[in-house]
C-alpha cells in the first residue's frame, strides 16, 4: 500500500513539472525507436550500404561510418543492445545492493561490520582500471559486460540503502513492531523495505545511467564484443577510423548524443523524484504556489532535522 501511494503521489506531482515531462518524452522517443529497430531501421547496421564517411543525406539520414555502414541503423540497433544490457545491470546491482544492505540491517553486529567494510573497500577502489582488468581476463560479450559492471557497481547502493535502513530503524513504528514481538525478518521485509521505495527507485534510475556510461567507456577502450553494434562500439569505431580528423562528426555525435540524452532524461526524472522525497527542496515550489515571490534564505520553512 505504502509503495503504491508513493508511486501514485509521485505521478500526480511529477507530471506537473516541466523537467519530468521533457525527460519522459526524450526517454520514450529513444527507447521506443530502439525497440522498433527491426522494423524502422533502413539498412543492416553491420553491412556497408554507402560510401565511406558520407555526409548525412536523404539516403542516409545520419550519414555513414568510416566503413560505409548506415549511422541511423546503427543508432537504432545499437540502442537496443545498449539499453537491455544497461537495464539488466541496473536491476542486478540494485538487487545486490538491497540484499547486502538488508542483510546488514537484519543481522546487525559483526555481520553488519563486515558487510560495511566490504562495501567501503569496493567503493574506494577506482572502478575503471578494475573493470578493465576484469573484462580483459573474461571472454568479451554481453554476459561479461553484465557480470563485470554488476561486481563493480553495487557498492554505493549498499551504503545508501544501509544508512536509509538504519535511520528508519530509529522510527517509532519499527519500535512498535519490535514491541509487538514481530520477527526480525518480518520487520525487514514488511516494515523496512516498502518504506525504502523512493530511495531504491532513484538509485535504480541512477544505475541505468551508470551502466550506459560504463558500458560505453569499456567499449570505447576496445573491451566490448567487436561483433555487436552498440553506442559504445560506434564511438570506438569512430575513434579508430580517425573520424574526428576526417571531419566526420556525425559518426561520433550521433551515438554520443544518444548516450548523453538517455542519461540526461533519466537524470531529469530522478531529480524530480529526489525533490518529492526531500521536503527542503520541495519547499521552494510550495512557497511560490503560496504567493511568496522570492523567499529570503532565512525565510525558508524550517524543516525539522530528523523529520
Amino acid at each position: 500500500m505504502a509503495l503504491y501511494d508513493t508511486l501514485a503521489g509521485a505521478r500526480r506531482k511529477a507530471f506537473g513539472s516541466i523537467p519530468v515531462t521533457v525527460g519522459a518524452v526524450i526517454l520514450v522517443i529513444l527507447v521506443g525507436s530502439s525497440a522498433l529497430a527491426q522494423w524502422i531501421a533502413p539498412y543492416n547496421p553491420k553491412r556497408a550500404t554507402g560510401g565511406i564517411n558520407e555526409f548525412p543525406s536523404l539516403k542516409h539520414l545520419f550519414g555513414t561510418t568510416g566503413q560505409g555502414q548506415d549511422v541511423l541503423s546503427q543508432f537504432l540497433y545499437g540502442g537496443q543492445n545498449t539499453l537491455w544490457i544497461a537495464f539488466t545491470i541496473a536491476v542486478l546491482t540494485t538487487l545486490l545492493a538491497l540484499i547486502v544492505a538488508l542483510t546488514a540491517a537484519y543481522f546487525r553486529g559483526w555481520v553488519d561490520d563486515v558487510l560495511t567494510l566490504v562495501t567501503n573497500v569496493f567503493l574506494v577502489i577506482p572502478s575503471l582500471p578494475l573493470i578493465v582488468v576484469l573484462a580483459a581476463f573474461l571472454p568479451p560479450g554481453p554476459l561479461t559486460m553484465i557480470m563485470v559492471l554488476t561486481i563493480t557497481g553495487w557498492a554505493f547502493g549498499a551504503r545508501l540503502f544501509r544508512s536509509q535502513a538504519l535511520s528508519l530503524r530509529e522510527r517509532e513504528f519499527i519500535a512498535a513492531a519490535e514491541d509487538v514481538g514481530e520477527r526480525r525478518w518480518r520487520i525487514v521485509a514488511i516494515e523496512l523495505l516498502p518504506n525504502m521505495g523512493s530511495v531504491v527507485a532513484a538509485y535504480f534510475v541512477n544505475q541505468v545511467i551508470f551502466a550506459i556510461t560504463a558500458q560505453a567507456s569499456l567499449e570505447f577502450l576496445g573491451l566490448g564484443d567487436g561483433g555487436q553494434v552498440t553506442w559504445g562500439s560506434m564511438l570506438f569505431w569512430a575513434q579508430n577510423t580517425s573520424a574526428l580528423i576526417r571531419g566526420a562528426w556525425w559518426t561520433f555525435v550521433v551515438p554520443g548524443m544518444a548516450i548523453a540524452l538517455t542519461a540526461f532524461s533519466l537524470a531529469l526524472i530522478n531529480n524530480a523524484v529526489d525533490e518529492l522525497g526531500n521536503p527542503r527542496l520541495r519547499a521552494d515550489r510550495l512557497l511560490r504556489r503560496a504567493g511568496v515571490r522570492k523567499p529570503s534564505a532565512s525565510l525558508m520553512t524550517p524543516v525539522k532535522r530528523n523529520a
Binding site: P126, F137, L138, L221
Partner: protein
Amino acid sequence: MLYIAKRLAFYLLAAFVAITVNFFLPRLTPGDPASTIVATYSTTLNEASLNALKAAYGLTDEPLFTQYVTYLGNILHGDFGRSLSNFPAPVTAIISAGFGWSILLGLTSVLISFVLGSALGALAAWRRGGLFDKLAPPVLLFLGSFPYFFLALLLFYLFCFKLQWFPMGNAYSSVNPPPFTLNGIGDVLFHLIAPAFTIVLVSLGPWTLNMRNAMIGVLSEDYLTLAEAKGLKPRRVLFAHAVRTALLPNVTALGAAIGGVFSGQLLTEIVFTYPGLGYSLMRAVSSVDYPLMQALFLIITLSVLVANFVVDTVYVLLDPRVRTGQEA
C-alpha cells in the same frame, strides 16, 4: 589521531584486497586465460622470459600459497612484472613516464572543479530562485550526462581540430619535456587547458548541486537566522557560517569522487592523446598486455587510496567533531 589511524588501517586493507584480487584474477578466471597468454607468446619469447611469464601467471608447480607470498614480496619491492608488448621493459618504467602527467592533469582538474562547483552551488543557494539558480542545475545535469570521452571528442573536434585554438594532443610541443622555465611551464599549461576543461565541465555538476542542496539545508538552521539577526554582514554570514558547514558533505564526496574522476580522466587522455596513464592503458588493452593492465590497476588504485587518505586528513582540519573523536 585515532580517526586518522583508523582510516590508515582501512586504506591498507583496501590496498591488500586490490593486490589479492590482482593475484588471483588470472589464476581463477574460467577458460584459463593464463595458458592462452603463455601460448600466444611461446613463439616470440626466449625460454627464460617464458618461464618468468609462467611464474607470473601461476603455471608452475609451486603451491598457490608460496606463489602468493612471492608475489606480495615482489609488490613490496616495487616489482610489478614485465610488459609483454614491450618485452624486457618492466611495467613500472612504462607507467612512470605517464604517471606525472596524469597527476598534473588530475590534480588541476579536480581542484578547479571542486572549488568552482562549490562556489557556484553556494551562490545558487544564496540567491535562491534567481536566474542562476534556475538555469544552473539543468545545464550542469546535461553536461554531467556526457560520458567524459564523448565530451572530450566534441571539444577536441571543435577547439583543437576546427578552430585550432589548442594543440592536437601531447603535453608539450617539443620532442623532449620542456625545461623548467617560464616558457616551458607556459607550454605545458597550454597543452593542459583542453583536457582539463573537459574534465571540469563533466565533473562540475555534482559539486554544484550537492553544495546547493547542503547550503539550502544549512540556511534553514536556526543559527543562521541568529547570525542574520545579530546584524552580521551578509558576506560574513555566507562564508563564516553557511559555507563552512555546507562544505563538509562536499569534502566527504571529494574522496569518493577522486576514483570516478580519475576513471573519466583516463579516457579523456586517450582522446586528447595526452601522454598520461590513460595512454598506457589504451596501449595495454589494444596489445593485450596483461601485466601492464594489472600494474596500471594496482598503481592507479594505490594512488587513489593515497589521495583519499589526504582528503580524510583535510577533513579533520575542517570538522572539529572529528578532531574530538566523535563520529562525523
